[in-house]
Amino acid sequence: MSEQTLWMIAVRDNRDKAAFAALFDFFAPRLKHFVMRGGIGSGQAEEVVQEVMLTVWRKAAMFDPERAQVSSWIYQIARNRQIDKMRRENRPLPEALAHEPESEPDAGQVVALEQETSQLKRALARLKPEQREMIEKAYLGELTHQQIKHQTGLPLGTIKSRIRLGLDRLRHELKSIREP
């Protein structure tokens, strides 16, 4: 399992502040940059970073390494915070799926998800700069769904096949949660 996943599990299960500090050191500076790309200043960006990281601490019980990478979990928390702040309304969120926080994570599942993610990262790294830029724009919320639909030149081929693999795996897992 990756360092990040182990830190997050330590935060979730043992309220480990040293592990939380390690997560902060990695994610907070990146989150700040990420949030500033949305067009807000340094001071306000740090407020968002603080709120996001505080949510990571407070909602740690919701983290399920069999279903989400630490970075994807934090990405969603950051998107939620930014939307709630910018639009002054609560972003509609899907129902949380039940999971048993007491149970040991299935290391096989966690590692499979991590491998899938690193392959996705390699596919990202192979993109041309302008393709990469477009993907970043889309996932930073800078494109509308019409724009995403019309970006037929998007390098989605490789990315989509990776997403589909991950998706397949996730879907089977969701099925096993619902129908144990």
């Binding site: 502040k17 899907p94 639909k149 998706l167």
Partner: protein, 211 residues
Amino acid sequence: MNTITHHIPEPILAAYAAGALEHPFALVVATHLSLCDDCRASFGAHEVLGGALLEDTAPEALSPDLKSGLMELLDTPFEPEPVFRRSGAYPGPVMAALKGRPPRWKRLGGGVRQTILSAGEAGSARLLYIPAGQAVPDHGHNGLELTLVLQGSFSDEAGQFRVGDVEIADDTLEHTPVAGAGADCICLAATDAPLRFSSLIPRLLQPIFRI
């Protein structure tokens, strides 16, 4: 769980994951995700991509006291946000939009009723109640409309829609949805523009009912 055959299109799902979707549509997507494992898995994959981009972002220097300030906050007590659970036909996100209360229906005529969940510049979201076998007046759309079935079913020119199914309509679709026989149909509908009704009376009533 029944089989969902009409899903959220990929660009709309990606826009939701990225936070680029207007509130009324985001409500429909969040509700569909609560009912549909396929789309939830697909959403999970979009989150993975978003997370990968976050990890790849160049770090930005932080104010020196940001970390210590945050570490001090960890032990402060806090109120957890309220969690709205599914109630009957209404999944959690709809219950959140209803603020945990049952819908307050307003008559639209012909037995059709509605509850407005949100209305503003970004469009509107509402619940529609259509008695079994009843038609909703023939209407077209000026913009995008997403309709998600929560109870019963409806059919129109585009096919049959059951619980969990989403119909995506735009300005090219002129349709007459008819609720299936058997159960009254309840839908969650979101639009970014007012609907255009083909007959005169509903058109006159439109500003009053905000539909």
